[in-house]
């Protein structure tokens, strides 16, 4: 653990454009973040804000030529993958970093035995058939599947959603990645299974010291898994900081609104659920100022004129012209501290 401070992944000013029939849309608009060894970064935001597009850019899994990375760096263990050769990127993909996808019902090949799908990762990265076979048994056991031998011979349709997600996780673990990217891995699953999957990933992380990027729009989940939080809005990271700090002292009105909209347990004395009015903008929409202005209770004139820069405040940073001390509208912060723990 000589390089604890060295981030496993360092994304700088990443830009991703989607080419459509009606024109180009920049969906990721200069995103920067770091993930350190053993750390969990939660990437949070409403649907369509560009979370998946960001991590798919990191993994280089976008369909070409529809989606294109137009700028920035994705530095994984010291190598900028954007500039790297396809060969280099492929050797990282699935080995150095691996991904767990949103919908376990569709993310496995229906015609291939589960064991073969997992073993394939090992073979692709130069392992022998013998190693692959051994590793399949190990990871299936690691993700808590009772009879690994039998599971390996089964096909995906013989499993439930929760079990399939375990298989996908096993697949991601096959090469002992240093970074695991989980893109809303529990949204398609029912609540009990969700809890199990979350506990499983945390356990694996504690065992392996993997870094994790956990994508979700459920702040309730974030409170339980994340060391750091990055809040995304309309292709920007609008706030980033240590989990507890973001929950207790949000620096961006959007974060504040998100926290206020976390569902409360019934009978609690906290303020009732308050949703952010309005809906996120279309990703193709280009703003002169801050994209959150139309929905922002704290906005001032300057906000619609110029995009605010990222301002560091202690351990947090936010992209907002108006610091919390100057917010005029009532805020929801403070109460949320209890949510964090």
């Amino acid at each position: 653990m000589s390089q604890v401070n060295e981030p496993v992944l360092s994304v700088r000013d990443l830009r991703t454009v989607i080419h459509t029939a009606t024109g180009d849309a920049e969906v990721v608009k200069g995103v920067s973040f770091d993930v350190a060894r053993g750390e969990t970064l939660a990437l949070v935001g409403e649907s369509g804000c560009g979370k998946s597009t960001t991590v798919l850019s990191v993994m280089d899994l976008h369909p070409r030529p529809t989606v294109e990375i137009t700028g920035g760096q994705v530095v994984f263990e010291g190598v900028d993958l954007v500039k790297a050769t396809e060969q280099q990127r492929r050797s990282v993909r699935g080995a150095g970093m691996a991904m767990v996808y949103q919908d376990p019902m569709t993310s496995l090949n229906p015609l291939m035995r589960v064991g073969d799908q997992i073993g394939e990762v090992v073979l692709a990265h130069g392992g022998s058939a013998e190693e692959a076979r051994r590793r399949v048994g190990e990871v299936l056991e690691q993700v808590g599947i009772a009879d690994p031998g039998r599971a390996a011979r089964a096909y995906p349709h013989e499993f439930s959603g929760g079990m399939r997600q375990r298989v996908v996780i096993a697949m991601a673990l096959a090469m002992r990645p240093r970074l695991l990217i989980a893109d809303e891995p529990t949204t398609a699953l029912d609540v009990t299974i969700q809890q199990q999957i979350i506990a499983l990933v945390r356990q694996l992380q504690a065992d392996n010291g993997m870094a994790v990027i956990w994508i979700t729009h459920d702040l309730g989940v974030v409170a339980r898994v994340a060391d750091r939080i990055a809040i995304m809005y309309s292709g920007h990271i609008v706030e980033e900081g240590p989990s507890r700090r973001v929950f207790s002292r949000p620096e961006h009105p959007y974060t504040d609104g998100l926290i206020a909209s976390i569902p409360r347990p019934t009978g609690s004395e906290r303020p009732p659920l308050r949703l952010i009015p309005g809906s996120p903008p279309d990703p193709s929409h280009v703003f002169a100022g801050c994209p959150f202005v139309p929905r922002c209770p704290q906005a001032v004139d300057l906000c619609s004129e110029q995009l605010p820069p990222i301002t560091e405040r202690g351990s947090s940073s936010a992209r907002c012209w108006v610091p919390p001390e100057k917010w005029t509208a009532p805020r929801s912060g403070g109460v949320s501290q209890q949510v964090a723990q």
Partner: protein, 353 residues
């Protein structure tokens, strides 16, 4: 150490005791058999009903044609016979019986393995079939081999480079394959071969594959190319669209996310999942080809089923035509069964029941 560690997992969240999912994968013992006896019985019933229907239709349709076996055999000479003579010849062939009786007696002899005798040559129909069937089956299989061998890689190429020049070339190829009629292509090939090499594919007597495989292959190759070309066009189109559809599926992204090579993703994941419609279309086309290809067999002088049935109809050879039609139907049914079994082989979710 400034490592931002995870807070230790609380017992409430499971901690060490990661919930082991014991939810069973359905055990092989409880699994329903993929190929059930019910399925086999049902298919058998289908076969019987289909073949019976085909037999009746062939029988009736043939008799709707003007003339009968006697006039077909004697041609204009039939006019020289007195009505009494004509009647005795008819009686000899059993044509004086009522139609249902004729049908039943034919079916009865077919069940005993006797397909009847050719009125014109006196040869048993079973001999005619034994000669013609291998010709057509070989031609159909060769054409399918060419069609699939050419169509699938071209379809994959077109889809992988979709909208590029490779795609355009493959699309042009498929338009030509679908647009050029068989007889035009066949005549073109014959004209070319005879002009350039002095080789006339249809001139020589047909040589069976067991007699001289090489000569046989030479005789089969050109007609197979003609038929295979058209088939390749169809297969290519199906492959291309199925491949494009499957490429967009989530599991393909998963496959790429593992760091697999492009070719592995294409062939092992995408094409495998795209293979069901390819098998379907190939099965249908093979079914047609096994029915004998009258035009191509005629142009290249191949003594196959198509030719047999054509001369049979011209000469009102009831027994010959009915038997050939029955055999063709049986092969069609057989191909269908093979296609179903292939589905089950490709896709573990398919239950044949």
């Amino acid at each position: 150490m400034k490592r931002s560690a995870n807070p230790a997992p609380t017992p409430a969240e499971g901690g060490r005791a990661v919930t082991t999912a014991t939810e069973p994968v359905s055990s092989p013992a409880r699994k329903r058999p993929r190929l059930s006896r019910r399925y086999l019985l049902r298919r058998l019933a289908d076969v019987v009903v289909t073949l019976f229907g085909v037999a009746v239709s062939a029988f009736v349709l043939l008799r709707l044609l003007p003339g009968d076996e006697v006039t077909g055999r004697l041609g204009v000479e039939a006019g020289n016979l007195t009505p009494a003579q004509l009647e005795s010849v008819r009686a000899y062939y059993g044509l004086d019986q009522p139609l249902p009786m004729q049908f039943l007696s034919w079916m009865g002899s077919v069940f005993q393995g006797n397909f009847g005798v050719s009125v014109t040559t006196g040869e048993p129909v079973s001999t005619l079939l034994a000669n013609a069937l291998p010709v057509t089956v070989e031609l159909a299989l060769l054409s399918t081999l060419i069609g699939v061998g050419l169509g699938v890689p071209l379809g994959v190429l077109a889809a992988a480079k979709s909208n590029g020049p490779g795609d355009a070339a493959a699309q042009t190829f498929s338009l030509l394959g679908l647009g050029i009629p068989n007889f035009v292509l066949a005549s073109g090939i014959i004209a070319f071969l005879s002009a350039q090499f002095g080789y006339f594919p249809s001139a020589a007597e047909y040589v069976g594959i067991t007699d001289s495989p090489l000569v046989n292959l030479q005789q089969q190759m050109y007609p197979a190319l003609v038929l295979g070309f058209a088939l390749a066009a169809t297969v290519m189109r199906t492959t291309r669209s199925a491949f494009l559809e499957q490429s967009a599926q989530d599991f393909v992204r998963t496959a790429r996310g593992k760091g697999l090579s492009n070719s592995r993703v294409r062939w092992r994941h995408v094409l495998h999942n795209a293979s069901i419609p390819i098998v379907t279309i190939t099965g249908i086309q093979l079914g047609y080809l096994l029915g004998g290809t009258i035009v191509v067999e005629q142009v290249f002088g191949l003594p196959g089923l198509g030719r047999l049935v054509l001369t049979g109809i011209q000469q009102r050879e009831y027994a010959v035509v009915q038997s050939v039609v029955l055999v063709i139907a049986a092969m069609f049914v057989l191909v269908n069964l093979c296609v179903d079994l292939l589905y089950a082989r490709i896709d573990p979710r398919v239950q044949l029941s």
